[in-house]
C-alpha cells in the first residue's frame, strides 16, 4: 500500500509524469559514484600500478629469460598495459567493482536510502538498470585507467615504437594500440560480469562488507578449485578460467578461441547476475 501512496492524489491524466526521467536518474547516480572519494582514490591507485611496474622493470632491466609476460615487457612497452590488466584483474579490479556494487544496493539499504528509492517513482527494473550502469561506469573507468596508464608508462618509461608480439612478429604502433584496446575491452567485459554478480549479492543484503567478501571470496574459491586436477571438467564454468588468456591478444595472429570462450562465459555470468538482482529487487518488500 505504501508503494502507491505517492500516486493516490494524482489525477490519472498526468500519470506518465509519475515516473522520474530515466536520464536524470542515471546521471545523478553516475555523478554520485564519481564524487565518492573512495572511488576516486581507487582509480588513482590503479593508475599508479602500471607506473610502478614499468619503473621497476626499467630500472632493473627486467628478469632475464624469465617466464611470463614480465620478460616480454623489457624494451617492449606496449606489453605493459596488458601485463598490468592481467595482474590487476585477478583481485584488485574485482575488488573495486564489488565495492561499487556493494555501495549501490547494500550500501543504500544500510543507510536506509534504498527504501526511499523503492518508494520513489521509478520502476524496480529501472532501479537495477541504473545501479548496473553505475557499476559499469566504474568498471570502464577502472580498466581504462589501468590501460591508459600502462600505455603511457610503456611509451615514456619503458620505451618502444611498436610491439614485438609473443609470436616474434613486430607490429606498428597503431596496430599495437588496437591490441591493447582489445585487451582492455575484454577485461572490461569480464569485470562487468563480476559486477553483475556482485550487484546480485548486493541486492540480497544490507551489509556492504558481505558483498566484498562473497565476490572476492568466490574468485579465490574458483582459483583453489581450478588447482584440483580431478575438477578439471568443472573448470569451464569458473569465471576466472580464461583470465590468463588476456595475453593471447599479444599473439600474432590473435589466439581467439579462449578469448571468445571467456566472452561467452562473462555473458552468461552477466545474465545470471543481472537477472538475480532484478528478481531480488522485484520481490523485495519496501
Amino acid at each position: 500500500m505504501t508503494g502507491t501512496a505517492s500516486r493516490v492524489e494524482l489525477p490519472s491524466g498526468i500519470r506518465q509524469r509519475t515516473s522520474a526521467p530515466f536520464g536524470r536518474v542515471v546521471s545523478s547516480e553516475l555523478s554520485w559514484i564519481l564524487h565518492r572519494p573512495r572511488n576516486l582514490l581507487a582509480l588513482l591507485g590503479l593508475a599508479l600500478i602500471p607506473v610502478l611496474i614499468g619503473t621497476v622493470l626499467a630500472i632493473t632491466g627486467g628478469p632475464s629469460g624469465g617466464t611470463g609476460l614480465f620478460s616480454a615487457v623489457a624494451g617492449n612497452g606496449l606489453v605493459l598495459p596488458v601485463l598490468a590488466l592481467m595482474l590487476t584483474q585477478n583481485l584488485l579490479l574485482p575488488l573495486i567493482t564489488a565495492m561499487v556494487a556493494a555501495d549501490g544496493l547494500a550500501g543504500e539499504a544500510a543507510n536506509g536510502t534504498l527504501r526511499g528509492l523503492l518508494l520513489a517513482p521509478i520502476g524496480r527494473v529501472r532501479l537495477v538498470v541504473v545501479k548496473a550502469l553505475g557499476v559499469l561506469l566504474m568498471v570502464v573507468l577502472a580498466v581504462g585507467v589501468v590501460a591508459l596508464s600502462g600505455v603511457l608508462t610503456g611509451l615514456l618509461i619503458v620505451g618502444s615504437d611498436g610491439l614485438v608480439t609473443l609470436s616474434g612478429t613486430t607490429l606498428p604502433l597503431g596496430e599495437a594500440l588496437g591490441r591493447v584496446a582489445l585487451a582492455t575491452a575484454w577485461c572490461a567485459v569480464q569485470m562487468a560480469a563480476v559486477g553483475a554478480v556482485a550487484l546480485a549479492i548486493s541486492a540480497t543484503t544490507e551489509h556492504s562488507l558481505l558483498v566484498l567478501i562473497a565476490t572476492v571470496g568466490g574468485l579465490i574459491v574458483f582459483g583453489v578449485l581450478e588447482a584440483i586436477p580431478s575438477l578439471e571438467w568443472l573448470k569451464p564454468i569458473f569465471i576466472t578460467a580464461d583470465w590468463y588468456s588476456i595475453s593471447d591478444v599479444l599473439s600474432d595472429p590473435i589466439r581467439w578461441n579462449n578469448l571468445v570462450d571467456g566472452l561467452w562465459r562473462a555473458g552468461c555470468y552477466t545474465l545470471v547476475g543481472f537477472s538475480a538482482a532484478v528478481a531480488r529487487m522485484a520481490t523485495k518488500d519496501t
Binding site: 616474434g168 545470471v272 528478481a279
Partner: protein, 388 residues
C-alpha cells in the same frame, strides 16, 4: 479504496512477472554456463560406403591443401617426465597440448605453441626454419636442408606427430599394412568435418602393446585429420593428435615470413644440441655399424636396437664415480643416469640394464650401452637383446 486494491493487485502481478522473467534469465545464463562443460556432442555423419583400399589409396594420393587450424594432442603415453630433454621432453610429457598450424599447400609452414604466457613459433619460409622463443627472446635459425635431415632421422614418430599428422598417418599406414587388418570402421566428425575412421588392428600373432590405431580421414579432403593410438587394457586413447579446428583455403603469405625482432638474440646452431636426440642421430659420428640402429622383426612388434655413443653413456664423468659393476658406471646427467632414475633394473643372461615401461611400449638400456625399444612388452625386447 477499491481502485487502490486493484492497483496493488496489479502491482503485485507485475512484480511477479518481473521475477518470473528474471528467473528465466538466471536459468538461461546457468544453462549457457553448463553448456560450456559439455563436450561438443558430434554426431557420426552419414557418408557413402568406401572400402579400406579405396580410402587408403585416396589418402596416399592426396596432398594436404593450404590450411590453417589448431592441432590438439592428448598424450597419455605414460612416459616419465624427462628432465633436461628440453622441448622434445615437453612435447612428450603427458596432458593436453594444442598448437596452431598454418600451411601454404606447398612447403612453407608455421607452427605456434603457447605455454601460458609465452610462445614458441616455428616458421619455415621455404629456405630457412626460424624458431622463436618468446620467454628467452631468442631466434634460432636453421638453414633448410639440415633441419629436414634431422627430422627424417628421428626415431620417435610421436615427437613429430604434432607437426604434421597427415605425414605421420601416411607413414604409419604404409608400414603397417602387411601386418595389420585395415578396415573402415564407421565415421566420425573431426573439427567439424566429416571423416571416415580407418582402423588398423594388429594381426593376432603380433606381440604388441597396441590395440589399434584409428585414423580419421577427411571425407572431402582425404587427408588424415586425427590419429588415435589405443593401447591394450585401456579404453582411452594413449595418444590422440588431431585437428580441433581446421579451415582450408589460401593463407596469408605474411604468415610464412619471419623477421627477427630487433634486440632479439639470433643464433645459428652448428649442430643440433639436444642430448635427448643423441640415440637417433646415427649418421654423423658413428664409427661403423656399431651405432647404427638395427630393426628386428617387422610390423607391430618391431624392435629398434641401437648402441649409445660412448659420450652419452659417460657424459659428465666429472661428477665423481659411483661404485658399481663395470667401468661405465658413472653418475651424471646422461641418458644413462636418466634411465637409472626412471627405469626399473632388470637382468638376465643378456646382461643387466634398466627398463622403462609405458602404456604403448617399452625401452631397455643395458649397462653396456645397448638400447632396445618398441611398441612391445618388455619380454620381446629382452629376447631381441639376447639374440643380438
Amino acid at each position: 479504496m477499491g481502485i487502490d486494491r486493484k492497483e496493488l493487485e496489479g502491482n503485485r502481478m507485475r512484480r511477479r512477472n518481473i521475477a518470473l522473467t528474471a528467473s528465466a534469465g538466471i536459468a538461461a545464463g546457468a544453462l549457457g554456463l553448463t553448456s560450456m562443460t559439455l563436450p561438443a556432442g558430434a554426431q557420426s555423419p552419414q557418408l557413402p560406403q568406401v572400402s579400406a583400399n579405396e580410402l587408403l589409396a585416396s589418402v596416399m594420393e592426396s596432398d594436404p591443401p593450404a590450411l590453417s587450424g589448431r592441432i590438439t594432442v592428448q598424450n597419455e603415453l605414460g612416459l616419465p617426465a624427462l628432465p633436461g630433454a628440453g622441448e622434445a621432453g615437453e612435447l612428450l610429457s603427458g596432458g593436453e597440448k594444442s598448437m596452431r598450424v598454418w600451411y601454404d599447400g606447398q612447403q612453407r609452414q608455421r607452427i605456434s605453441m603457447s605455454d601460458g604466457s609465452g610462445e614458441t613459433t616455428v616458421v619455415d619460409d621455404g629456405n630457412t626454419v626460424w624458431k622463436w622463443d618468446s620467454a628467452e627472446r631468442t631466434v634460432v635459425k636453421y638453414p633448410h636442408g639440415e633441419s629436414s635431415r634431422e627430422d627424417s632421422g628421428t626415431e620417435r614418430p610421436e615427437a613429430d606427430a604434432p607437426a604434421d599428422p597427415s605425414e605421420l598417418a601416411q607413414r604409419l599406414v604404409g608400414k603397417l599394412r602387411e601386418t595389420s587388418t585395415v578396415q573402415v570402421d564407421g565415421t566420425a566428425s573431426v573439427a567439424g568435418r566429416d571423416a571416415y575412421e580407418l582402423v588398423l588392428t594388429p594381426k593376432p600373432n603380433e606381440r604388441t602393446k597396441l590395440r589399434e590405431v584409428r585414423i580419421g580421414v577427411g571425407a572431402e579432403t582425404r587427408i588424415p585429420l586425427r590419429v588415435e593410438v589405443n593401447a591394450n587394457g585401456s579404453s582411452d586413447p594413449a595418444l590422440r593428435a588431431g585437428f580441433s579446428e581446421l579451415s582450408t583455403g589460401e593463407q596469408d603469405a605474411e604468415l610464412f615470413q619471419f623477421t627477427p625482432p630487433e634486440n632479439a638474440k639470433v643464433r645459428t646452431p652448428e649442430k643440433p644440441e639436444e642430448q635427448g636426440s643423441a640415440p637417433s642421430r646415427e649418421g654423423d659420428s658413428g664409427p661403423g655399424d656399431g651405432n647404427r640402429p638395427r630393426i628386428e622383426g617387422t610390423g607391430w612388434d618391431t624392435v629398434v636396437l641401437s648402441r649409445l655413443p660412448e659420450s652419452a653413456m659417460r657424459s659428465s664423468t666429472g661428477d665423481g664415480e659411483r661404485s658399481g659393476p663395470g667401468a661405465a658406471e658413472t653418475g651424471g646427467t646422461g641418458v644413462r643416469a636418466m634411465a637409472e632414475r626412471m627405469g626399473s633394473p632388470v637382468s638376465g643372461s643378456w646382461g643387466h640394464g634398466w627398463v622403462i615401461n609405458t602404456s604403448v611400449g617399452s625401452a631397455v638400456l643395458t649397462s653396456d650401452g645397448r638400447v632396445a625399444a618398441g611398441a612391445v612388452p618388455q619380454q620381446v625386447l629382452i629376447e631381441a637383446l639376447r639374440d643380438s
